[in-house]
């Protein structure tokens, strides 16, 4: 070879990587700092945050999303995405429940078949993506609807499989050696397996190559299609596995399992440094990203901060990390491929972003102020603070109270009463709950309260089987437990504050309908979501009552509103047209009734009446116009008020099992039957009495 041509290397060739590049190939250390800061903050602001028990609980809660995030990592590394994982959890959950309960298969067989279903679902995604070459985002958007839709269709939304054997539930609820949550024995090996697969095998290497260049990888002899097929099939399989653990964790299988989990999983992976354009990302990053999110949620709860803050901070964290990443990459932009250049100078962007952010804040703040001021005007006058209550015990009780969903107007009206009572008693009220109906979140919050240490916990239970385990645990720790609005298993709580039984509600609603309709004719129901447990229970009793007492009344349709007023509106319009003989439409979710009423009003059908279960303030205008004849509810403020009084008395020891009466402030004496505190019968609101209520 010509010496002049092949020059010797001018600099010695480095063949070793820096330790930092090897350990943190993707700047994962940033997340370590974020997590450290979080831990430090919460260790000071929260009670018992930095304990072994809490550490284990945090990991337990992250297992299902963690499994999804693990498989999402290679998917995002190849430049793809899978939005269908959460829906696949829902489908898997009901398939497993159905196979076990309805088909009578043994649990292991049911689980095995469920995993196969997951695999098949994944195969559908894979086929669409690799065979039809369709973009993963759209394919999985389609299967996102399809899987959830099949789950709802199969169970008709109402099936709720529960009563699984304890040996199965142990996988999701038990402890090995008394401290280590069982599912960690699945999760930790899964992490190691994925780490090995992605970072230590040639298989994993090929995913990175595919992520940077699919075509280039094919030219290098990598079986791109086969790799992608395998990955999307695995995604289905892992979603099923996550569902199996989820069901064991909650003790129930329903079509809404895993709703919204795909977004959290994606957020964790991206927070962990994976690039949505493909090629970059690590398992370590994903796990750290996941931890950063769950520690934030857990820490805020333990510090008694509102749940919403977690969402906001997660969003901020997400944008900030990718922004920092982006800005740090500009400095070291490559020489040969410098197509991407900033046209606008950095400072200009900075100023502009600043201006926009400030403007956004001003808008947000003024909105906040306005909303607040309106609420002040409209809200009831704050109750006079009682001076004597707090001094009698000398100790300030911490009462943690949880609604099913924080944003629900029904629970918001309960909160008012609860706060009033807390003020009178001088107790500290922690009010927190899931932002949407989410049984898994309820468990997490109770767990956080146990860790934090409170005197009493009062829960409006979304899922009986799921929450009872954790409530029992709270009792073991000496915390008094009350359920209100909806009950758990009897041995998991001290008392139930019973405003009305499902039977009572169902019967009252039916009787009201019968009264309005004259006990005959057709009527329709607009419910919450098709999988809403309460509503389905009520509908069951409505049907009972109809069969028993009102043979001439016919329930022609049950349409979902998803708790959305606008959807209730549209569904009612359809009902009125498809079933022209309907005499009455019954809305059985608080936001549904005004939607139903508005639709009836706009249709001009004065012969159709509206009834249901809702809040006075929402319905007042319609009641006055005569569109809503009457509706059913109890005094929600009193419910909250009574709950706090009971919880306080219970933790003071002034109220014990076996008593027949409880003194509750302005409500005077309330009857106690066995372990139930009875608020009274459901109340019927109508034109005559509606002005007396403001909640």
């Amino acid at each position: 070879m010509d010496e002049a041509i092949s020059q010797p290397q001018q600099v010695p060739l480095r063949t070793e990587q820096d330790w930092s590049a090897r350990l943190f190939p993707n700047n994962e250390w940033i997340l370590l700092i974020v997590i450290a800061v979080e831990c430090l903050l919460f260790a000071f602001s929260g009670n018992n945050f930095a304990t072994t028990g809490n550490a284990f609980e945090v990991t337990r809660l992250s297992v299902e999303i963690g499994l999804l995030a693990l498989i999402m990592t290679p998917i995002i590394i190849t430049g793809g995405i899978d939005l269908s994982v959460g829906s696949m959890m829902g489908l898997s959950a009901v398939v497993m429940g159905g196979l076990w309960r309805d088909a009578g298969l043994s649990m292991p067989v049911a689980i095995a078949i469920t995993l196969v279903v997951g695999l098949l679902g994944g195969a559908l995604n894979a086929a669409m993506i690799t065979k039809l070459k369709a973009p993963p985002l759209i394919v999985t958007l389609g299967t996102f609807s399809l899987f959830r839709g099949i789950a709802e269709g199969l169970t008709r939304g109402i099936e709720n499989y529960s009563g699984f054997s304890p040996s199965y539930l142990f996988f999701g609820q038990g402890y090995v050696g008394g401290v280590v949550p069982t599912q960690l024995f699945f999760f930790v090996p899964a992490i190691l397996l994925f780490w090995w697969w992605l970072h230590r095998t040639t298989f994993g290497r090929s995913y990175y190559a595919i992520g940077f260049s699919q075509e280039g990888s094919r030219y290098a002899g990598i079986k791109v299609r086969r790799r992608l097929n395998f990955m999307y099939c695995m995604s289905g399989l892992l979603s099923s596995l996550a569902a199996v653990i989820y069901v064991a964790h909650l003790g129930q299988a329903k079509s809404d399992a895993g709703t919204g989990y795909e977004l959290t999983a994606i957020a964790a992976v991206v927070l962990g440094g994976a690039s949505i354009f493909g090629g970059r990302g690590t398992i370590l990053g994903t796990i750290l990203g996941l931890l950063a999110i769950v520690i934030l949620q857990n820490g805020l709860r333990i510090s008694g901060q509102p749940t919403e803050l977690a969402g906001i901070l997660t969003g901020v964290l997400l944008v900030t990390t990718i922004l920092i990443d982006r800005l740090s990459r500009i400095g070291v932009s490559r020489i040969t491929v410098s197509e991407e250049e900033f046209e606008v100078k950095n400072w200009q962007v900075g100023v502009l972003s600043g201006v926009i952010l400030v403007a956004a804040f001003i808008v947000a703040a003024s909105n906040w102020m306005l909303v607040r001021s309106i609420k002040e005007q409209g809200g009831s006058a704050p109750a006079a603070q009682s001076q004597n209550a707090a001094t009698s015990t000398g100790k300030k009780n911490v009462i943690a109270m949880m609604p099913k969903a924080k944003g629900d107007p029904y629970f918001i009206s309960c909160r008012k009463g609860a706060e009033e009572a807390a003020k009178e008693l001088g107790a500290e009220l922690l009010w927190d709950g899931p932002t949407d109906l989410d049984p898994a979140k309820q468990n997490e919050i109770v767990q956080a309260w146990i860790t934090r240490g409170v005197d009493a916990i009062a829960v409006s239970v979304e899922n009986k089987e799921g929450i009872s385990t954790v409530l029992r645990k709270a009792r073991e720790k000496g915390i008094k437990v009350i359920t209100w609005d909806a009950d758990s298993e009897k041995d998991a709580r001290d008392f139930l504050i019973n405003q009305a039984t499902p039977q009572g509600i169902g019967e009252t609603l039916t009787d009201e309908a019968a009264r309005i309709m004259g006990s005959k004719g057709e009527f329709a129901i607009v419910t919450a979501s098709l999988s809403a447990a309460n509503q389905n229970e009520w509908i069951k009793f409505i049907k009972h009552r109809l069969a028993e007492k009102y043979p001439d009344m016919k329930l022609v349709a049950i349409q979902p509103s998803d708790g959305d007023r606008d959807k209730a509106f549209a569904e009612t319009q359809n009902i009125l047209k498809v079933y022209p003989n309907v005499k009455l439409v019954m809305g059985i979710a608080a936001p549904a009734v005004p939607g139903v009423a508005e639709a009836v009003k706009q249709s001009g059908r004065t012969d159709v009446k509206v009834t249901g279960l809702s809040l006075p303030n929402m319905c007042k205008p319609y009641v006055k116009e005569g569109i809503i004849d009457s509706f059913v509810l109890w005094n929600t403020g009193d419910l909250g008020y009574l709950t706090v009084y009971a919880a306080n008395a219970l933790s003071n020891g002034s109220f014990k099992p076996g008593e027949t009466k409880i003194k509750a402030g302005r409500l005077n004496e309330i009857e106690v039957v066995g372990d139930e505190v009875r608020l009274g019968k459901p109340f019927i609101f109508n034109k005559g009495n509606i002005d007396n209520f403001d909640f």
Binding site: L13, T15, R205, G279, R334, E341
Partner: protein
């Protein structure tokens, strides 16, 4: 020999169109350009040559405003351009046509020509018939028969280039920059392009012409400026300088013997095609044998089916006729991985998209085709990977400080060496090279040729596709000429001449 200086020589400044003085630009501390100066007259074709990484692309980007220089100034007609940007330079009549045509694949030809050129503001109304008419006129002016309503994605590469030229014409470009326009053109298309360039020159457009094909410069360029290491070295009248002088200026040293071809004893037949064809690839009835130690060249125009033949052999396109034999055994290849298992390798034409994975480290790129060999029971053998990567990086002289750097940090020639390393690792028995030296600087080119000879000496059967006639004539033992999807003629090294090959390629 004139050292470029722009203060004196009043005779040249008279029709000076574009003048760039002392341009400097560095990325992350690395100088891409330093003290680059040159000027362009109206109505001339000014060639810009230099090795890859010499700074040609950056200089163009500075001129078109795509990149802001750190210092230096550019003036057009004596007026200084301040705060340059793509839209400003465009409005001043500076247009560029890049190696990869920058058209909008989803939009029609007429729209592609019109985008960014209509005088109406952003809220102006599009006049569709006028657009179509204008596109037709512009395309006619350069003699391109393209339907203005066709979608750009459906055009061939040369057609796309013609559309770009029409677009530049439409923008009343006074300065037209052509960056390797002939890199992927056949001889025929090149000739057509040159005709268009000459017409433009006659109408007073100044053109900056960048090419690695030094042999085509005398035919088209008036003057030539050599760039090396970000500096403009010298400017000459094209007629005053020879190819070898240019090469010496570009590399800064003498190159002895551009083609290091050595005689190798022809061994047994290693690879054979009989009646081989694929309807999908547009090739048919191909008979071909390659012996051990032999370099067989494939010549032909773009679209003759050369790359398609290589892709079909390699399993990227399924064949549907004929047989393929390796050492006398019939083989079928359904996927590149099967080809690799049989030690058949293919260095693809499009280096950046297919040859390497730009964002992966050099080490991963080198081992990407042989991952199977690195896979063990406990996972991947990283130590072996490191050894292989270091060995080939050194052996092929890839200029890089570390094997874990991304391939995108390398110059074109070094990227090609990495792409080649990948296939050498697989120990090929048959090596298909598709335009192995396209867009590669002169130094690297010679190194790649040397390597090919070494491989042939080791008994590898090499099939080389090339559009560069001297390369084919200089390197190959036999040359197959393709036309219309099949092999039209086969020449022995001693019989082949440029004229014979070209006429065979044209189907005469």
């Amino acid at each position: 020999m004139v050292r470029a200086s722009y203060t004196s020589s009043s005779s040249t400044t008279n029709n000076m169109l574009l003048n760039a003085v002392n341009i400097e630009k560095s990325y992350a501390g690395v100088h891409a350009l330093r003290d680059a100066s040159f000027y362009l007259r109206a109505g001339e074709v000014h060639a810009l040559v230099g090795e890859n990484g010499a700074g040609k692309s950056t200089l163009i980007k500075v001129l078109t405003g795509a990149v802001v220089p750190d210092s230096g100034e550019i003036s057009l007609d004596g007026a200084k351009i301040i705060e340059n940007s793509p839209s400003i330079s465009k409005s001043l009549g500076i247009a560029a046509i890049y190696q990869q045509p920058a058209l909008f694949p989803e939009l029609s030809v007429a729209e592609n020509i019109a985008v960014g050129q209509e005088t109406a503001g952003v809220f102006g109304i599009v006049h569709w018939p006028k657009r179509k008419q204008r596109a037709k006129e512009l395309l006619n002016r350069i003699g391109a028969r393209i339907d203005p309503e066709q979608i750009a994605a459906e055009l061939s590469m040369p057609q796309q280039q013609l559309v770009e030229i029409a677009r530049a014409l439409g923008a009343n470009a006074r300065v037209l920059i052509l960056d390797e326009p002939t890199a992927s053109l056949s001889e025929d298309d090149t000739r057509n392009l040159f005709r268009v360039i000459r017409e433009l020159r006659a109408s007073g457009v100044g053109m900056i012409y960048i090419s690695h094909r030094l042999e085509e410069l005398p035919a088209i360029a008036d003057r030539v400026t050599v760039l090396r290491d970000g500096q403009t070295i010298e400017t000459h009248e094209m007629s005053d300088i020879s190819s070898s002088q240019l090469i010496r200026l570009m590399v800064g040293r003498d190159l002895s013997g551009v083609f290091p071809k050595r005689e190798v004893r022809r061994g047994d037949v290693v690879f054979e095609l009989r009646g081989f064809g694929s309807r999908e690839a547009g090739i048919r009835g191909i008979d071909l044998t390659i012996h051990a130690g032999e370099i067989v060249g494939i010549a032909g125009l773009v679209g003759a089916g050369r790359t398609e033949l290589a892709k079909t052999i390699f399993g990227l396109v399924p064949p549907d006729a004929g047989v393929m034999l390796l050492r006398g055994m019939q083989i079928t290849i359904g996927h590149p991985s099967e080809a690799i298992d049989l030690h058949i390798s293919y260095l693809p034409e499009d280096r950046r998209r297919h040859g390497v994975v730009l964002d992966l480290p050099i080490s991963s790129n080198i081992t990407l085709a042989s991952l199977k060999d690195l896979s063990g029971f406990k996972g991947m053998n990283f130590r072996r990977e490191k050894e292989i990567a270091a060995e080939y990086t050194r052996r092929l002289g890839v200029k890089t400080p570390a094997i874990y750097n991304a391939v995108s940090t390398l110059s074109g020639g070094n990227q090609q060496k990495v792409a080649l390393s990948r296939w050498l690792v697989t120990q090929p028995a048959v090596l298909i090279l598709d335009e192995p030296t396209q867009g590669v600087d002169v130094g690297s080119k010679a190194e790649i040729h040397e390597l090919m000879v070494e491989l042939a000496e080791q008994g590898v059967a090499i099939l080389m596709i090339s559009s560069e006639m001297p390369e084919l004539l200089g390197m190959c033992d036999r040359i197959a000429v393709m036309n219309g999807g099949t092999i039209a003629k086969m020449f022995e090294r001693t019989d082949a001449t440029q004229d014979l090959i070209l006429s065979a390629a044209l189907g005469h």
